[in-house]
């Protein structure tokens, strides 16, 4: 598969047999936002392209969203995680636009937003999603392949999964312990807003094994594990089909393209 890095490539770059086979999908423009200290923007953009979409590079200081159809806030250590993970990024100019667009009044106008790892932390700091992340309960950096159960496949980013499906994607973080007060946790459970749960062990002490959540409208999803690192055989987690062959994360990126084309969300 031919691929070029996000940075240095023309923003509308899109080619390769996969994209050609999915003409309708390649028209969808998914913005990937880069902050100072973001690590995984290139992998997220690559995942968008592998799924058949067009990745658009966004810079945190941009004043506008460049007409993208959805936004991914990737992982990393934006602003060095100074103060709190995600705390300073939340006030970046482009985040103000994203907060506005994600909360739009009419359902069709709501911008789909996916926050991965540090992106999830930014979404909680922005109050787009409830709760917060604190240091892992064991105090160590966690780096492993996490097994997750898809608890809700009705969000903009999870329609290509089956309810209850188990997927394996990498997890790597220091501040990954999801916490919220009991009332918030009960509300998340009651409203079906827990999107992903860790299975086979809780890697960071997250309340109720929560790995990812969504808002009520389902356009905003945040999770600590990294689906963008499990989209291409040879570079993913080990799977039954072979070493490094896991591509369980690809469903996030095909889901959003299908959601956008279907126009149901």
């Amino acid at each position: 598969m031919t691929e070029t890095p996000l940075i240095g490539a023309a923003p509308t770059f899109s080619t390769g047999s996969r994209a050609d086979a999915a003409q309708g999908l390649s028209g969808a423009r998914i913005g990937v936002i880069t902050f100072p200290g973001t690590l995984d923007d290139r992998d997220a953009a690559r995942a968008v392209r592998i799924a058949g979409g067009t990745a658009v590079a966004l810079w945190h200081a941009d004043p506008e969203l460049a007409g993208v159809d959805a936004v991914i806030i990737p992982g990393g250590f934006s602003y060095g995680d100074y103060l709190r993970a995600g705390a300073l990024s939340r006030f970046a100019p482009l985040m103000e636009r994203i907060i506005q667009a994600a909360n739009a009044r009419t359902a069709t106008a709501r911008l789909p937003v996916l926050g991965i790892c540090n992106g999830f932390q930014i979404l909680t700091e922005s109050h787009l999603l409830p709760g917060s992340m604190i240091k892992n309960d064991h105090l160590k950096f966690a780096c492993l392949d996490a097994k997750l159960r898809v608890e809700n496949n009705a969000t903009a980013w999870t329609t290509d999964y089956l309810p209850g499906q188990e997927i394996t994607v990498p997890l790597k973080n220091q501040d990954g312990q999801y916490i919220a007060d009991e009332k918030t946790l009960d509300a998340l459970e009651a409203e079906g807003l827990v999107t992903f749960r860790y299975v086979g062990g809780n890697p960071n002490g997250s309340r109720r094994e929560i790995a990812g959540i969504s808002n009520a409208a389902g356009n905003i999803v945040g999770l600590m594990p990294h689906p963008e690192h499990a989209v291409e055989s040879g570079y993913g987690p080990d799977a039954a089909s072979g070493r490094s062959a896991g591509t369980d994360g690809l469903g996030f990126f095909t889901s959003i393209l299908n959601t956008l084309v279907g126009g149901t969300k």
Partner: protein, 83 residues
């Protein structure tokens, strides 16, 4: 130059993993009298000129909007530092 101190602590109901690690280390160094540790943050805001009531109020608002995350932390103290 006058400074305003803003102290931020993890909420009482939030487990503080760092404090827990510290309380585990203390007895190993012979400090056996402490049954709990909670770790917070202290910010010192420097002001050019006189600190007015309005500036103190600004420090309080900065405390709750940026310096702390109200989901997990409380601003426990905002005061003018005596020189």
């Amino acid at each position: 130059m006058p400074r305003i101190v803003v102290d931020v602590m993890p909420k009482p109901e939030i487990l503080d993993p760092q404090g827990k690690a510290i309380v585990g280390a203390l007895p190993r160094l012979g400090f056996t009298s402490f049954s709990g540790v909670r770790q917070g943050k202290r910010f010192e805001l420097t002001v050019d000129g006189e600190v007015t009531a309005e500036i103190l109020e600004q420090a309080r608002r900065a405390g709750t909007t940026l310096l702390s995350n109200p989901v997990i932390e409380d601003v426990v103290n905002v005061e003018l530092l005596a020189d």
